[in-house]
């Protein structure tokens, strides 16, 4: 039986009727038309679908939309403010932290939580924090550089 959910996505209120089995990622992509979060595995291993739920990085493919009822979601589309890129987005750009770009939205949001929790992470802490986000293109080195650069900029 369908249920009505009401939630905030990127600061905007949404209310929709959904099947309980509707995965949050499908809700975001198909009902809210936010296609930034991606689907790349079915086993909760790749992190491409990562969004922030009440400020914490979560895998939206491993959550039902009904679980997000009443909560706040941030997707990659909501990260830049007034057209100004987030320092992490800017750093990923400067440091060539992406190639095909498919993992990038999830990667950035996971890194976002890291910098919220730990504004000055070591290389090892960066690598550990993004272990749930697979990237097949970059070998991660430029991603680590990007997160470091964003941290340095925020600290400067």
């Amino acid at each position: 039986m369908k249920r009505t959910i009401a939630l905030s996505i990127n600061g905007k209120s949404h209310a929709d009727e959904v099947e309980p089995r509707l995965l949050l990622i499908h809700y975001l992509r198909e009902m809210a038309s936010l296609t930034g979060p991606h689907i790349a595995c079915e086993t909760s291993t790749c992190g491409a679908c990562t969004v922030m739920l009440d400020g914490k990085a979560v895998k939206s493919c491993t959550m039902f939309a009904v679980q997000a009822d009443g909560r706040k979601i941030l997707t990659i589309e909501g990260l830049a403010t007034n057209g100004k890129l987030d320092p992490l987005q800017e750093a990923f750009w400067n440091e060539h932290g992406l190639q095909c770009g498919f993992c990038t939205p999830g990667m950035i949001l996971t890194a976002k939580q890291l910098l919220n929790d730990n504004p000055n992470p070591t290389d090892e802490e960066i690598r550990k924090s993004i272990e749930g986000n697979l990237c097949r293109c970059t070998g991660y080195q430029h991603i680590v550089n990007a997160v470091k650069a964003a941290a340095a900029k925020a600290g400067a």
Binding site: E19, R21, R29, W93, C100, F102, D123, G139
Partner: protein, 776 residues
């Protein structure tokens, strides 16, 4: 008209941040699954759980009864469509008829049996479970060597020996080389099956327009134009009624250099239901139904003199082809043969390939495609020879390298290496790590019971694939450059990049050649209705061939611009700089926009000149390019657990001239990650019955951030004489250079225990067992 004197800085060689990134960073790029169309249906494919079986019966009625299900199609519906094509031609090649959906038999797990079409992807998924298929399970074979054994189950009953082809290539005097040899080392070396695993799986949207009998097909592919040509053949429709578009492509690594059943199937479905239809591959489907890479069992024999002079190499190569030929399946091992001699000057080789059918996913081009296997082989054999001769492996390599004055160098496999200085990256890398000091440290480590290894790989590769005679579909690339009436520049390239950054590097080339602001350039690709024609991005060819086509198109265009510029400035010749045509004698100039406007307005034309500013160039390369490099890896092996950790990874690559160092570094890092994945973790494991046991990302281990070492990457630059840009290509270098360096390093760490070889992946248990005393 203004005057100008400052010469603009060139962008060639500069770290320019990528122009494709803003859309990717903000989640606004459009990948295949982001496409949404009115009335769009969703398809889900019913697949065989068995590796070999006869379909006794198939009942689709319960699925059709599910509300929301529009149609179900089975093998009978598509039996008259053409087969999935194989582009490789080898003498005597046996090619099974590759239907889009199984007819009465399935040949591998994941074999498509039926397709369900519904108004919603959830309903389609539900309906798949309602399709009843009754299988008579047949014996299967998943190991290529077992498939060759007498009495093995026949993958295709018409060919009981499971042999798709045999191929022999010989150069020089191999018998003589082995007769002269003072030492011969032999080793069986495997390159395990790998799953390419682009982060975006494949996907197709097909939209049939009955009114004009045309079809638009979006596919996450590396080869939109070839796909269109081949798909038109499968569907039996005129090629010019078919438009193929690649949206943003989330990685390919060779796995999207293909024509797949689902591409034809979605076209068929859309034509039948009269609505757009979308299919997006699940990860498990990606593991089962998208090509795999490698799958070699190689028997090498290397002949040498006691002084280390290498004389000749013999190879028996058993290629696991899988159950079908995909686009290039049988051709991939022939690339291995070409690359067999590596960077060494011996001129006697002999290779025998046996292509073997197994009830497994077809193998095909995966990053490196045949070259990593060959490089792994020769670089392991050189180390094995060094151990046999008790020579330093670096010294042995130097002794046998093709000398820097010997280019172009004709190899025994028929190639002409374009340019090189092979000692340079090796010496640079060894200096970087202080090789003598490390060898001393290694002695001390051994004395105290610790295991550390130093591994070298001096690799070569064949890039810029390739000249048309060597490439099944043609090996050229094309570019069109257009200066729009407003003076802005649009490039249309046939190379269809998907992460390689050509929107940036190509714009750099344009900006330099035309002397314009890079922001005035837009690079368009991946739409057969817009782009002239092209081959695609694979085989490290995008920049070396696509970039060169662009370069030549620009030369033509420049000629025309100059004519209009000179006409406007009323002089004989002009230079292009700062977005202007400049009369260098008078210092007068005219901006591009004005030149372009004049060319389109065409009030007055220079003599023998057509209106408009457009040039198209199809460039046929005269040769491949041959990048090279040296990777040095220092490993520590945990004696108690067999766990390998990488202390340092030094890569010195020579990919010719570098247009954008940022992008080149990214290619090296990503390549190394995939090489390291093969060396240490990745492996497609089938059980005896053809079940893929490493069937999800929870079992198939891709490198994660915390598993990767810091890669110390630098370059030497030996320009290629093959193209005017001097570029060679870098997409596959890291992958090719990496795995032998890692394995050589670990074998080196264990060599004093009597270990001579370890097959990949170097799992801790495998290494631990060798430490326990098992020789390999």
């Amino acid at each position: 008209m203004a005057t100008t004197t400052t010469k603009p800085e060139t962008l060639f060689g500069k770290k320019i941040r990528r122009r494709e990134d803003p859309r990717l960073l903000t989640g606004t790029a459009t990948y295949l699954d982001d496409i949404k169309m009115p009335g769009m249906h969703h398809a889900c494919v019913v697949r065989s759980p068995h590796a070999a079986a006869r379909i006794k019966s198939l009942n689709v009625k319960p699925a059709l009864a599910r509300p929301g299900v529009t149609a179900v199609f089975t093998g009978a519906d598509v039996k008259d469509l053409g087969p999935i094509p194989c582009g490789a031609s080898l003498p005597g090649l046996r090619t099974p008829h590759h239907h889009i959906l199984a007819q009465d038999r399935v040949y591998l797990v994941g074999h498509p049996v039926a397709v369900v079409v519904a108004t919603d992807r959830y309903i389609a998924a539900d309906a798949v479970d309602l399709i009843e298929v009754d299988y008579e399970v047949l014996p299967a074979v998943s190991d290529p060597e077992k498939a060759l054994a007498p009495g093995a189950p026949a993958v295709h009953p018409q060919w009981p020996d499971n042999t798709a082809f045999t191929f022999h290539q010989e150069g020089g005097d191999i018998t003589g080389a082995f007769a002269q040899a003072e030492v011969v080392v032999k080793q069986r070396i495997t390159s395990q099956r790998l799953i390419p695993t682009s982060m975006e799986t494949r996907g197709v949207v097909a939209d049939w327009h009955a009114g004009d009998k045309s079809l638009t097909l979006w596919s996450s592919t590396q080869i939109p134009h070839l796909l269109r040509t081949l798909l038109a053949g499968i569907l039996g429709m005129p090629e010019n009624h078919l438009r193929v578009i690649t949206p943003e492509v989330g990685g390919g690594f060779g796995s999207k250099l293909n024509v797949y059943a689902e591409e034809a199937l979605m076209a068929f479905v859309s034509m039948r239901i009269g609505k757009p239809v979308k299919w997006v591959e699940s990860r498990r489907e990606n593991f089962l139904c998208t090509i795999h890479g490698r799958g070699h069992v190689d028997y090498f024999e290397l002949a040498a003199r006691r002084d280390g002079t290498m004389l000749g190499l013999r190879l028996k190569l058993i290629q696991d082809l899988g159950a079908y030929h995909q686009l290039l399946t049988p051709a991939i091992p022939t690339l291995s043969v070409l690359m067999m001699p590596g960077l060494y000057k011996f001129k006697n080789i002999s290779a025998d390939i046996v292509g073997v059918f197994t009830n497994c996913t077809p193998t095909d081009a995966y990053r490196g495609a045949g070259r990593p296997e060959a490089t792994h082989g020769i670089e392991r054999m050189v180390d094995i020879l060094a151990a046999e001769l008790k020579m330093d492996p670096a010294e042995l390599r130097r002794k046998n390298f093709v000398g820097k004055d010997e280019f172009p160098f004709q190899t025994a496999t028929g190639l002409a290496y374009d340019s090189g200085n092979y000692v340079l990256p090796l010496d640079t890398a060894l200096a970087e790590i202080d090789y003598p000091a490390l060898r001393r440290e290694q002695q001390q480590a051994r004395a105290s019971g610790k295991l550390m290894g130093i591994g070298l790989s001096t690799y070569g590769e064949i890039c810029a694939i390739g000249p048309s005679p060597a490439t099944p579909a043609g090996g050229w690339e094309s570019a069109t450059v257009k200066i729009e009436p407003s003076g802005k520049i649009t490039v249309m390239t046939g190379a269809s990049p998907h992460g390689q950054g050509e929107e940036t590097t190509f714009a750099q080339i344009v900006a330099d050649e035309l002397g314009v602001d890079i922001d005035d350039v837009v690079v368009v690709h991946g739409d057969t209705a817009i782009v002239q024609y092209g081959i695609g991005t694979f085989g490290s060819r995008g920049t070396a061939i696509g970039g060169t086509a662009l370069y030549y198109a620009l030369q033509e265009l420049k000629g025309k611009v100059k004519k209009f510029g000179a006409m406007l400035l009323e002089c004989d010749d002009v230079a292009l700089a700062g977005g202007k045509c400049v009369d260098e004698r008078s210092g007068k100039s005219v901006p591009f926009a004005q030149v372009a406007a004049a060319s389109y307005r065409a009030m007055k034309l220079p003599p023998n000149t057509q209106p408009g500013l457009v040039a198209t160039y199809f460039w046929e390369p005269p040769n491949f390019t041959f990048p090279f490099g040296a990777h040095v890896v220092i490993t520590d092996v945990d004696r108690e657990t067999g766990q390998v950790s990488i202390r340092r990874y030094v890569a010195v690559d020579d990919c010719g001239k570098i247009i954008n160092p940022l992008i080149v570094a990214g290619q090296v890092h990503g390549g190394v990650a995939q090489g390291l994945g093969q060396a240490l973790w990745e492996q497609a494991v089938y059980d005896e019955n053809g079940q893929l046991l490493s069937g999800e990302l929870t079992d198939y281990a891709l490198p994660r951030a915390h598993m990767m070492p810091w890669i110390e990457s630098s370059h030497t630059e030996t320009p290629s004489p093959v193209n005017p840009l001097g570029v060679k290509g870098v997409g596959e270098a890291g992958t090719i250079g990496c795995s032998p360096a890692v394995v050589n390093s670990v074998v080196d760490a264990l060599s004093h225990l009597g270990v001579r070889h370890i097959d990949m992946p170097l799992t801790p248990e495998k290494v631990w067992k060798l430490i326990q005393g098992g020789r390999a």
